[in-house]
Point group: C2
Chain length 778, copies 2
């Protein structure tokens, strides 16, 4: 949508137009130094240059892609230097120890800080309580003054208060507070930290895959997101706090990584900390440390070595530990919705569980399409937030299931009916004409209360489905986990009660006869709610293992892992049938971030030269020559091209590649030319700073493949191969198909593959391939 | 040990001497086909050749390393072919569907089969029961005949039976059965399936890292291991059944993968199935599906893409589901040692937990060294098994804690004392002079029963420590999980009771005063046992995340994850301080398998040419030329060299690399020369079969680096860098340091790194580097 780019409000959301994607990524350098021995010292020398040559060299611009291999080389070189100095003095030894432990230190600090966001989770809870109590207070101070303090201590009575006057007053106050909180939240976000909106997970995925978004994980984002998250949740919008908490934890990780040069000066190492931080974020958001680690592994991270697994585990441990010390749920448990079911599940129940999985998959596919379609039409962020908040408040109030806090709703839906349960959902007809029937835990006929609850739940389901589509992606912090789980829990509870009543009235069916004894408790509707919640969340996010672990850590229902797994797998398969992207990948595409999904498998066959730039009718590739380039020529090239990096060749004649120089590094070097060691001032010749790698001398530059080129190509392919994928006209516009010299679109050649062996680095390897391409005339 | 190689019993255990390690691995082929377009069709043509050219081409010999990249290329080509044919006919479409689902099918089958090994776990249990009952029967038929049936139904009474005669008879029968079972087990292993011994995990790790051990996962191994595992456990040896169950599950996975050509013809794809199978194995061994997936990821697998994560998850799900249907523990739970603790843990308890972690780390380091030292001295497998079984039985019988089944012991140690607990460990002095004290759950003074139990437990601890060292690695199926956990559980329970008594007698200490109310239950000794078990297992195996997940899935103790994590991390750190290898890596080294640990980080600096073969005084590299080689020359090279692969060059003059041919492929091709397409019969010229890859033409062959070269080099480095590592004289002998032309050991050059960027494929990349090495004179 071209309107998006005109939106001055959130520049990064305007799509890729504002992101200079044309950077050249030179990665996967061959670190060999030619057959001769002479190259060795020069290579080391060049690496030395990167250490502290000029401030700024080796860093990256905003909205640029990092060079993983250069960062890894830098880190290895640093590590080697520290190791070799270690034995020189006690001070150096201490420094090496500090260096070795700084990884653990930074994840500990991150975990501690993330754990304290649990305080934040408490404050969310209390602010909601406060809002309710406050409106209660006001209503009753107008309605029946003098009884303030009674109702202050027991705000639950408010909604059952007598008379239509108090109800309307309540209604008004509910809407008023919702609007106020929503407005405050969106204003704060708009004024202080535009990056603080949304769930943050799509951006964190992009950042972890090696992209730079300055300020996205900064202190302002941290502060504003923490505050506005409370407001957004308090405003009653259909959103959760879990995704934003991951973002907040990553902000903590990013800020702490600046304390340690090992991490602050190395973007690749910093991403290890961020992976650990996102694990800690989920750990505190759900009280699920293992689920957090798996979430980081499966959903968020791009580069996840086993060392990061341990660090993430530790960060999640520390965060969970802090959470436990604060004890937010008041029950000494890490668990948010603690459930204990007293009956096992039976084999025939797999059928409704799989049905719930199908529902979750359908909901996920529908939600992703609808939400993306709506996000493309967004124009007026503040107005939109206010409108959605107003509609939410007005529609939500009459229905008790939509009026209450979503977490509370999920908890109620998960909880099994017991003798102490006073919920409307548990109004069964007692078979013994007494209350003892519950304590025996037998199935029973539903009383009218259950039927009215079912109606209200159905309405709440429709309401939540519609509102969540419009809410996710608003310019306030908005997570998706809790609303998705609520939708699934409602659907699951409805199915559960239906199956339960079926079992009660038809207990002689062969299915029920075999498993359910008459009078025994056979069906647990709360379990269906849990399975439904997992299925819906799975359909939306397409997580599998991590989701199951999070849900069972949430509920402590270890025995019910098989139903959870069945539902989540079904949900993923059904969802994938309608489009392979989860909501986060869809938002990444929507925002035009350069992200290559490591999970995708590329089976198409493309020649590298199909993707390579420059194409035949393009201007020739801008290259630098090694020795004979003057400063004026260099500045000329930089000012005339928009490339973010240039291959360095020996001379125009031989076209042999010797290195790769980033635009930013050259600009900085020109600015500080006096201190730049390879700059010879008198001759005005700038000996190009060859970053990090020195290839074998006989490689000829034919062209370059950037991440953007690959993304464009994939988009083109997708439109040929996947007719089911939603039509991204948006993208078609931005990435036009390539045209041959005759003006017609170039045909795709399908005989040699572009990608790629086996690893997460498949894209990088294909880049290397091309840079190693040889001129056949040689 | 040179004696090992003389051992005719288990050739594979004799070390690397029998393993022809000298194979040449050609991996990481650049798939580009030169700058010209002409290469494209020839490259595809060569790939076609690999499909079904000659039976046997593209397969591997026993004890050889697979070529990951070639396998991945083959698979991609196959996938592409199926995809392109898909639209041709309904039959082809069905075939493509079958192909797409065969991955899920094979993991489902594997999961089902692994789940049925749970039956096996049941049979282990029953066989032990049978042994005990049977000896009971015999004793009582000699001692007090006529009371058979009383004691048949209540065999627990036996050990409290009257008179020394019955005790001695009991003792004798116990030893007799132990010896019989042990002898039967070792005989079966020796006669039918020598690979069925040990835990199998070191070998599975090696296989998954890309090694071929024929028959290790075959049907004989499966059958014999299943049977002898029962016997070994029944013999009362200090071993567990968990590791062997993983091996059994991998056998199932391997056998089922032969049903699907996608997996049977592709060693890399087969390893994906094996990864899933090992997850299923842990899933059934411990009833821990998530732990199984993490175990596969962290400990066993080498190549673990996210797709394998889902498949493993699914296999573990199916296996857990089968386990649940069989319901082996009779409580509708997946959980082996189900524990419920009723008190939370307190912050000050972290100190004893960390102490337990230190103990676990020390035990692990000690165990690894002692066990490896003992394994190197092993000579007479059958005699050894008999001796160890005899000693175990004789020493174990008098102590009730060593006499009982180890799983039962762990269960007892984990269980908290409640009013219904009749164990000796729960004989506390009641404060109320009645039994009500327990139901109030308060701490109490230990009665003499507890003190005698502590003594017995201490003796059991020493016994278990000593016997486990001698038991692990015996030539019967022997797992390490249960004995390690038992040792940790005993130590933990002792510490737990000590802390509990400390809290009882000194409840006015500031620590206890703050947390423990007088009369309230404050310390849970069972929790200490659980933490200790995790710590000891962690010290031995050096697992972290997967271990915590397995233990908490075992026990269902979700709230106690923080203590578990603290203890396991401590244990790992302490253990790593004494040597970075876990027991499985140590056994891999002991057996001389070619395994490059992806977890290790290489910080040393070595020139590629330091590692490269041929060295200066070696004979020149055996190479094949592309076109002008006659059959006689080829056969000559093959008969004169022992290399397992040869670089293919254009001609002797230019030394340009065009491909790589495996010895096995060439031998097969010569044998079937009539059908070999590139063989021109009349000219007797053998146009060399260039497998899979065609490099850019200008690359010159200087030498080759094989996995063996890298391993040798690492061994050499280790002796310089890690003085703490155990002295592998064994290795020093086998891999002598390289000598320069002057006869002195060559100095190490420390200025350019050998390895390696960032991925699991670091070793392969360093291989590529060298093959890409250019002659500087070019």
């Amino acid at each position: 949508m071209e309107e998006d780019s005109a939106d001055p409000y959130l520049p990064y959301d305007g799509g890729g137009d504002t992101i200079p994607l044309q950077e050249l990524r030179g990665s996967n350098y061959a670190m060999s130094n030619g057959g001769g021995g002479a190259g060795a010292s020069s290579s080391t020398h060049l690496l030395d240059l990167l250490e502290e040559p000029i401030p700024g060299v080796g860093t990256y611009d905003d909205f640029h892609t990092i060079d993983w291999v250069r960062e890894k080389c830098k880190d290895r070189e640093r590590h080697r230097k520290i190791n070799s100095k270690k034995k020189e003095s006690a001070w150096e030894f201490t420094k090496s120890l500090y260096d070795a432990w700084s990884g653990w230190l930074v994840v500990t600090l991150t975990g501690l800080a993330s754990g304290h966001t649990a305080l934040h989770s408490l404050s969310v809870y209390h602010s909601v309580q406060f809002m309710e109590q406050d409106s209660t207070l006001r209503v009753f101070s107008t309605g029946r003054s003098g009884q303030w303090f009674n109702f202050l201590t027991c705000p639950a009575n408010i909604f059952t208060g007598p008379g239509p006057g108090s109800y309307i007053m309540n209604y008004f106050m509910f809407t008023f507070w919702a609007l106020s909180f929503a407005f405050l939240a969106v204003s704060l976000v708009k004024v202080f930290a535009p990056y603080a909106c949304g769930s943050g997970i799509p951006e964190i995925k992009t950042i972890l895959s090696g992209f730079i978004i300055r300020g996205y994980l900064g202190k302002w984002t941290l502060m504003i997101k923490t505050i506005t998250l409370v407001l957004a949740v308090a405003s009653g919008l259909s959103l959760g706090k879990e995704g934003p908490l991951v973002h907040v934890a990553c902000c903590c990780g990013n800020i702490f990584s600046y304390l340690f040069p090992k991490y602050s000066k190395n973007e690749a190492k910093k991403r290890e900390v961020l992976s650990a931080a996102s694990a800690a974020g989920v750990s505190v958001a759900f009280g699920a440390p293992i689920g957090g680690v798996l979430f980081s592994l499966e959903e968020v991270s791009y580069y996840f070595p086993l060392k990061t697994l341990w660090r993430s585990f530790f960060a999640a441990l520390v965060a969970a530990f802090v959470l436990r010390s604060i004890n937010p749920f008041g029950n000494s448990r890490l668990v948010l919705f603690y459930v204990e079911y007293h009956t096992p599940w039976y084999l025939f129940e797999l059928f409704p569980f799989i049905l719930l999985g199908v529902f979750g998959g359908l909901w996920g596919a529908f939600f992703i399409r609808a939400n993306i379609a709506w996000c493309r039409r967004r124009k007026y962020p503040v107005l939109e937030v206010i409108t959605v908040a107003a509609i939410t408040a007005i529609v939500a109030f009459p229905n008790p299931y939509t009026r209450q806090n979503t977490s509370e709703l999920i908890k109620e839906l998960f909880t099994d009916c017991g003798p102490l349960e006073s919920s409307q959902l548990c109004q069964y007809r007692s078979q013994m004409n007494g209350s003892k029937a519950y304590s025996e835990g037998s199935d029973a006929a539903a009383a009218p209360g259950v039927y009215s609850a079912m109606w209200q739940l159905s309405l709440a389901l429709v309401f939540k489905i519609i509102m969540t589509i419009f809410t996710f992606g608003l310019k306030v912090p908005s997570g998706l986990f809790i609303p998705s789980m609520a939708i699934g829990a409602i659907a699951g509870r409805i199915v559960g009660i239906a199956v339960e009543q079926l079992a009660y009235y038809h207990h002689d069916w062969f299915l029920f006869r075999e498993w359910c004894e008459v009078g025994a408790d056979c069906i647990t509707p709360g379990l269906y709610a849990m399975v439904g919640a997992a299925a819906c969340l799975g359909g939306v996010t397409r997580m599998t293992v991590s989701l199951v672990v999070i849900v069972f850590e949430l509920t402590g229902g270890l025995e019910y892992i098989v139903p959870l797994m069945a539902a989540v797998m079904t949900s993923k398969w059904v969802g994938d049938a309608f489009g392979r992207e989860g909501i986060y990948e869809a938002h990444i595409r929507l925002n035009g971030y350069p992200f290559l999904d490591a999970k995708e498998e590329f089976t198409h066959t493309t020649l590298a030269r199909e993707v390579m730039r420059p194409r035949r009718n393009n201007p020739p590739l801008a290259v630098l020559t090694q020795d004979d380039m003057t400063l004026a020529e260099l500045q000329n090239i930089i000012s005339q091209t928009s490339c973010n990096g240039f291959p360095v060749i020996v001379s125009k004649e031989s076209q042999r590649l010797v290195g790769f120089a980033l635009r930013r590094d050259i600009t900085i070097a020109i600015g500080e030319r006096t201190s730049f060691p390879e700059f010879t001032r008198d001759a005005e010749t700038f000996k190009v700073f060859i970053c990090t790698f020195k290839l074998t001398k006989s490689v000829i530059v034919l062209g370059i493949i950037t991440k953007k080129n690959i993304l464009e190509h994939l988009e083109e392919l997708k439109q040929h191969v996947e007719p089911l994928a939603p039509p991204w006209y948006y993208y078609k516009k931005r990435y036009p198909p390539s045209y041959g010299p005759d003006g017609k679109p170039r045909p795709r050649v399908h005989n040699v593959q572009l990608a790629s062996p086996s690893s997460r680095y498949e894209e990088d390897e294909s880049e290397e391939e091309v840079r190693l391409l040889d001129n056949s005339s040689l």
